[in-house]
Amino acid sequence: MHGQHQAAVVLERRPLTERICEITLGKADGTALPAPRAGAHVELRFGGKDGRFLRHYSLVGPLDLTSSHEPFWRIAVQRENRRRGSDYIHRHVTPGTSVLISPALSPFRLTADDGPVLLIAGGIGITAILPILRACVMRRREVRMLYIGRSRAAMAYVEDVEALGGDAVTVHDATSSRGRPDLAALLARQPADTTAYVCGPPALIEGTRQAARRLGWPAARVRHEVFNPAHKEEDQAVTVHTRGTSVHVSPGHTLLEALETAGVETFSDCRRGECGLCITPISNVEGDIDHRDRFLTADQKRGNRQIALCCSRPRSTSIELDL
């Protein structure tokens, strides 16, 4: 993805819930953006001339069945508690703000067959699930959907989803229904050969996968959107020592971003722990590493001799790298 970003501009911004705002993005030259495939996401860089923050957002797409093509891209951003990327967007991004966007990527997509579809969205995960629901309705595929949230008022697009899916949609509001939905019972009710698509907090994804495994579903019958695992609430500042210099990494940034900003030459591509290009040998670290990538094997992770700069962090506040 590196070097393939293009200049874009924020067109509009509107609040969806207390913590979630919707932002529409257009190309800076005013030409139309291509319609993204259902479930696609974009890598967004924002917060300065070269983009100080990098985040992945699902492309929500049109909200109803009548507007077949929008020349812009729609994302929804949930504000987190600490002053990080999403907080920056909520504070500073307004119509006219310049950002950089990657081409749309769509690894989260409908199966090629016509089998039944079960959609499970948790919280802000609705942004990846809504376009899949819309695609199922338009393609007349058999679909059911569960949308889980803390309270109805906190659930973005809840009315749009109900209008799109009608009776196929069940809204589970944890405040009024006092608790979690029974995923195992939900999966057990589905017709044979159903594929489940889930997007939401890691616990929801893992819960769905476990329930499916217990019911004997093949692993390929649960598809989930891989979130960028680079950022956690508890992240602390880290100092990276390499080649005789020290680089400060603030909690909202990755090691990779801080090294790039400091002018240290690195390799990277996917920036979400997939490709392995940014894996770097560790010279010295106190304690172990919170490995968040999917590239290293479990043994390699236990060895703590290498780290994926794009997403992983030491649990301590200092690390020495052999770049």
Binding site: A38, H69, P71, P107, A112, R294
Partner: protein
């Protein structure tokens, strides 16, 4: 979709009335963005098999193959890793294997195996396109996949029917699909560009009626008591007599033009039919704004197993279509290279059916590209 039925009688006097150009840019031309939300022919059905093939369609290189159970698959012919053309790889089971580093892709475009690393990266995927077989042809949808309803594939039942005999051929043409549509729906050029085959001097004056049906344009023509054109008269062996003739030409979609002709012999000889039916099917798909893939079929409802008629129909069709191909390529060359004067085109009343089709294409293109 509202049906705007609009009858436009055309007569000789109207020929000199210039077609009013209401607003500039209302008609599609070679520079209009290609219409993607449409089923286009991508191959003859038997071309797509277990060995991947590639073809450039609407500016995109597409690779096509079949799974073990015969389902067609279409993907972007470009490995997301280092742009290796996937059609240069091979098919293993249902997967397409890149010939450069062995990345394997499932029919839904997701990477299933990457030999160089120990896991499958979730961001490795290839764009796929809806694809479906109908009769002797395979169709593809290069636009918004949510709109790819297979019920929208044009019905061409005579191509797969045992009651009809067909000859078929194909061309790659360095011309735009808009001009091709205008050429096919414009019958006033027949006597001049195709004097030996489809055009007769009498036919240029045949009554004509053009209407729109939704996003289709339909022309009816009728000519009574005149000699048949060679392409229909010779194989039926009725060149020596006068016949009645009706024809219907239809702009079906940006991908298809078809014609239905019937020759009525008022005094058939014993044992011979009194009506001869023909369907002429033109399927074409833009390769780019300036080039097309073209498949044609000439189908008849008599002498369907007669190989002499096949040979004649093939030769006569090829001659006529070659004349069109040559003309369209000359025109494209002028349009693209002649910058001496401002580009312009005059239109006259008989051009109205072609302009109706171009107006529909313009509207469809603008609806997609805003």
């Amino acid at each position: 979709m509202p049906h705007a039925n609009q009858a436009i009688p055309l007569d000789e006097e109207a020929i000199f009335d210039a077609m009013p150009m209401e607003e500039e840019g209302q008609f599609a031309n070679h520079a209009t963005p290609l219409i993607r939300n449409c089923w286009y022919v991508c191959a003859r059905r038997d071309e797509v098999g277990r060995t991947p093939i590639s073809r450039r369609l609407l500016d995109t290189d597409v690779v096509m193959y079949r799974t073990r159970d015969g389902r067609p698959v279409a993907m972007h012919n470009r490995c997301p890793h280092r742009a290796f053309p996937l059609a240069k790889g091979h098919v293993e089971g249902d997967r397409l294997v890149c010939g450069y580093h062995g990345m394997q892709f499932e029919p839904d475009g997701l990477c299933a195996h990457l030999p160089a690393i120990s896991h499958v990266p979730a961001n490795a995927c290839v764009q796929t396109y809806p694809i479906a077989d109908r009769g002797p042809l395979t169709w593809i949808w290069m636009g918004d996949a949510n709109l790819a309803d297979e019920a929208l594939i044009p019905e061409l039942p005579w191509l797969a029917s045992s009651e009809w005999g067909s000859v078929t051929g194909d061309f790659h043409i360095k011309a735009d699909y808009v001009s091709m549509h205008e050429n096919l729906i414009d019958q006033t050029h027949f006597p001049f560009l195709h004097p030996g085959t489809v055009g007769t001097p009498e036919y240029a004056r045949a009554s004509m009626n053009a209407t729109t049906e939704g996003d289709q344009v339909l022309i009816h023509r009728r000519l009574d008591n005149a000699p048949p054109p060679g392409i229909y008269g010779k194989p039926a062996d009725i060149m020596h007599k006068n016949v009645d003739r009706t024809s219907e030409a239809r702009f079906v979609s940006p991908a298809v033009h078809m014609a239905h002709a019937r020759i009525f012999d008022p005094q058939p000889e014993p044992g011979k039919p009194s009506v001869y039916g023909y369907y002429i099917t033109h399927c074409f798909t833009p390769e780019s704004n300036h080039s097309i893939h073209y498949w044609w079929f000439n189908s008849r409802d008599y002498g369907i197993d007669d190989t002499d008629i096949d040979a004649f129909m093939y030769e006569a069709s090829m001659q006529a279509y070659y004349e069109d191909v040559e003309a369209l390529e000359w025109i494209m060359d002028v349009v693209l290279t002649d910058n001496e004067a401002q580009q312009f085109e005059l239109s006259f009343a008989p051009d109205k059916p072609g302009l109706m089709a171009r107006r529909i294409m313009h509207r469809l293109a603008m609806a997609e590209h805003g």
